[in-house]
Symmetry: C2
Subunit: 154 residues, 2 copies
Amino acid sequence: MKAQKNIPLRIRRTKPVPASGAGTAVIQQITRAAHSQERAQDYVETIADLIVEHGEARAIDLAKAFGVTHVTVIRTVQRLQRDGLVNTRPYRSIFLTEAGSRLAVQAKARHRVVLEFLMALGVPEGVAKVDAEGIEHHVSPETLEAFQRVLSGA
Amino acid sequence: MKAQKNIPLRIRRTKPVPASGAGTAVIQQITRAAHSQERAQDYVETIADLIVEHGEARAIDLAKAFGVTHVTVIRTVQRLQRDGLVNTRPYRSIFLTEAGSRLAVQAKARHRVVLEFLMALGVPEGVAKVDAEGIEHHVSPETLEAFQRVLSGA
DNA sequence: TTTCATTTGTAGCCTTGACTACATAAGGTG
DNA sequence: CACCTTATGTAGTCAAGGCTACAAATGAAA
């Protein structure tokens, strides 16, 4: 018995697919790349906050801030150290490197703009905070600038 | 020799941390949850597009659209099938279930609003497309509504 | 019908990011 | 100082989402 008639098999196409947009793949690849940096940005931003507020950043505070176990924090911090964003030694607290500080400053500024922008649009604060957390990592310089234009009433 | 003076050790805190926001952890958890649904939404959306454009959705076209290997697509599609969003059988093309279709419609509508919104703000199309791809998954109904208000000139 | 390029599938590996369970260091307190 | 709570670290597991290399099915064409 061959395949049932109502279950389409593959269809051989000679033409290279009528192209649903040339750069589709590239867009997705850029988005995946942005993705892989989200954690790093969230961490350095929170580490910077903790240092300002408490004078030091500790694994347990990061764990509380992110809602994960301390083990997850420790392993993530190890990766950040491997990537040159933080410095830490066993049983000591966590410090930002120069690169980490720069990234934290950028991330924080962008986060603030996105949050203020959403609230300026009338989005309730609670919702805006959640959305900003997810959105910020995908806001390009161009879009950030557009947000700032709106905020400054231009 | 004890620890060097210039490398701070831990500091014992009696108070439960001056609270850098009560719901910080919750926000991050919501963001992580949104995260885990991104691929599913991207896939059903693209599958719907392919069906409209070519009459069927095939693994190789998805691979081209996402810029990944066909193996990644096949394994992702297996997860979507496990989760009840698509139906497929070995060597056959991919179909959306009822649930998958609904999700695709929602995702597509939201994607369109986000893209149009960014372009309405003056973000160049190429950049807007990339940003929309990342942003859309973190846009709550409230924020989406705000975007639509702006688009309708309210 | 046989062949063969294309497509799909399988096996196995890697990284990230999450977890539990257990082990060890730090440092306040009695 | 010894004790004991808190914080940190280690070991091992898991799922998602990537990959390469190889195997098998499809379907068009010779």
